[in-house]
């Protein structure tokens, strides 16, 4: 297996954009190529496109070749589009990594994009129902907000987590988001403001939720040999894990406050990479809702099960705390264009390692980072590890 590095990263402004899906692809594509002046586009042999529902939101299918056309790329090794709902982006990075590590590809463009704000929002919202089991949970209106609201209700019921603790997650991520010029929301908020914002699905208010967002992000991955030619600041991939526990419909989930799939993915990730939470300088995790981040602290092993609320209350997930979580502002500030989110997380890692972020959200001296991206009703989890230092060996399995 070969070492693989991210050699360039680019992003668009996230938000409700007056830009088409194709505009977003071109913006992110131009940004990533501008970030890699030593690269001849002819060297790109593979293309991976993370896109969750272009068929429904912009009525376009066969999107990977369209991205190749829009960015003037000729692919000769691997071209693929990944769809795993909210985790489509990190999946694209994972498969590009595998392709290069095994020697099939040398240089790959990985681009994630979603255009979620459309002329007919009831249709856009209905597309979100179809992430769940369409004919069984769909007719009951089972979209993400009520599902994660019930997750929060169960976590409060089982562990005594409070609405104030949920709100504190937003307060932290809004603080860092306010320093991220690409984020959809760039305003700091108070606990009172979160608690007093419009109720969406109790106990979750508007500010407990991430948004429907338009945006795109891209990274270029290269083999060790190629990476040396392309950049002085490679971001090495340490490894990753994915999990899903034969679970899609509510019936298979079991207890909502226990994310057994994430627990399993974390165990696998730490075992494969040799990492442990104390060796990770910061984590970009999937805070689609405030409760998600609290459970992620627990299942990723940052704190004991049930103590996620206390973890944020004591400031342990701030920069300078036990482990900095979402110094980029998370999904709560950035918004959540499904196919782009996992790649936006990788973009943040690259910018942090290079020190190209504002001082007050810079994790000074960070060498090891983790990204976590989930999908659907938290059935599926991806974790990847990144470092400024080249790993001695890459383990795909034991």
């Amino acid at each position: 297996m070969r070492n693989v590095a991210i050699v360039a990263a680019g992003i668009t402004k996230f938000g409700v954009r007056e830009a088409s899906w194709k505009d977003l692809v071109q913006e992110a594509g131009k940004a990533v190529f501008d970030d890699c002046p030593n690269l001849d586009r002819k060297d790109i042999d593979s293309l991976f496109v993370g896109a969750a529902q272009p068929e429904r939101w912009v009525y376009q299918t066969h999107v990977a070749p369209l991205v190749a056309e829009l960015l003037g790329i000729d692919v000769r090794r691997v071209i693929a589009r990944t769809e795993i709902a909210c985790a489509s982006g990190q999946a694209a990075i994972r498969y590009a990594w595998l392709s290069i590590a095994t020697g099939l590809s040398d240089v790959a463009l990985v681009l994630g994009v979603e255009k979620m704000n459309t002329k007919f929002m009831p249709l856009s919202q209905t597309c979100m129902v179809n992430v769940g089991n369409r004919e069984f949970d769909g007719p009951n209106g089972f979209t993400a907000p009520p599902f994660f609201a019930m997750v929060a209700q169960r976590h409060m019921h089982n562990y005594g987590t409070t609405k104030e603790q949920l709100a504190l997650v937003r307060v932290k991520n809004a603080k860092y988001g306010a320093m991220n010029p690409y984020a959809q929301f760039q305003k700091e908020v108070s606990v009172e403001k979160v608690l007093g914002s419009r109720m969406i699905s109790p106990p979750l208010t508007l500010l407990d939720c991430s948004a429907m967002t338009d945006g795109a992000a891209a990274v270029i991955l290269a083999s060790e040999e190629k990476a040396k030619e392309l950049t002085d600041t490679p971001v090495w991939i340490l490894g990753g894990a994915q999990s899903v526990l034969h679970s899609h419909t509510v019936n298979q989930f079991g207890e909502l406050s226990e994310w057994l799939g994430l627990r399993k993915a974390a165990k696998e990730f730490y075992s494969l990479t040799g990492l442990s939470p104390d060796k990770i300088d910061f984590a970009e995790v999937h805070d689609c809702f405030t409760i998600s981040e609290i459970i992620e602290y627990e299942e990723l092993g940052f704190c004991k099960k049930g103590e996620g609320g206390k973890f944020i209350e004591e400031g342990d997930s701030y920069i300078g705390g036990k482990i900095a979580v979402n110094p980029g502002g998370g999904l709560l500030s950035n918004g959540h264009p499904l196919g782009a989110t996992g790649i936006r997380q990788a973009w943040e890692v690259v910018m942090q390692f290079r020190g190209e972020v504002p001082k007050d959200r810079y994790v000074d001296g960070a060498k090891v980072a983790m990204t976590h991206n989930l999908s659907g009703m938290a059935q599926l989890h991806h974790i990847m590890g990144y470092s400024t230092e080249k790993p001695k060996e890459i383990k795909f399995g034991r």
Binding site: R56, P122, L123, Q125, T126, C127, M128, V129, N130, N133, R134, E135, F136, D137, G138, P139, N140, G141, F142, T143, P145, P146, A149, M150, V151, Q153, R154, H157, M199, I200, S201, P202, P203, L204, H246, T249, V250, N251, F253, G254, L256
Partner: protein, 160 residues
């Protein structure tokens, strides 16, 4: 100049109609059609594996637990327990948008997870504030009318 005339209106797109599997002669004919027929006759049912004994939900034609296709239809116990609930107010699927806001819940029927199921459902007749975890609920059948003359069936929960 040549003109092209578009239709004045288009039918409800399938995307917005989660009940379309209920029409067995259509393109979405399904091996679990008995589920819908039983709903129309007043019963909420699902499949149970006759080999490994696993109760499946949603119903299936092959048991995901042991891959047997030796399945039988069983009635879901009528009374269950409220496990979790919230409210659907914004971003409601287009077809049921007119009912919002409503309570959406998960209830457990039978002895979950070994010999029971947990399923989602709407509670139309209780407010969020009137409910608590552990409340007894029962399922009941809902008639879905329209578009046009169509009649189809679903279920919801009611607090008892």
């Amino acid at each position: 100049m040549r003109t092209i005339k578009l239709p004045d209106s288009v039918e409800l797109p399938t995307l917005l109609d989660p009940f379309d599997q209920q029409e067995p002669s259509g393109p979405d004919a399904t091996g679990i059609y008995d589920f819908y027929r039983n709903l129309a006759e007043g019963d909420l049912t699902t499949t149970k594996c006759k080999d490994c004994g696993k109760l499946n939900f949603p119903p299936v034609i092959v048991c995901p637990n042991c891959l047997s296709d030796n399945l039988e239809w069983v009635r879901i116990p009528e009374v269950g327990e409220l496990y979790a609930f919230s409210v659907m107010a914004l971003g409601v699927p287009a077809i049921i948008d007119g009912y919002a806001p409503f309570v959406v819940a998960i209830a457990r029927f039978g002895n979950y997870p070994d010999e029971g199921i947990q399923i989602s459902g709407i509670i139309f007749d209780s407010k969020y504030e009137e409910l608590k975890i552990g409340d007894k609920v029962k399922w009941e059948i809902v008639e879905i009318q329209g578009p046009g003359e169509k009649k189809r069936y679903w279920y919801c929960f009611r607090k008892i």
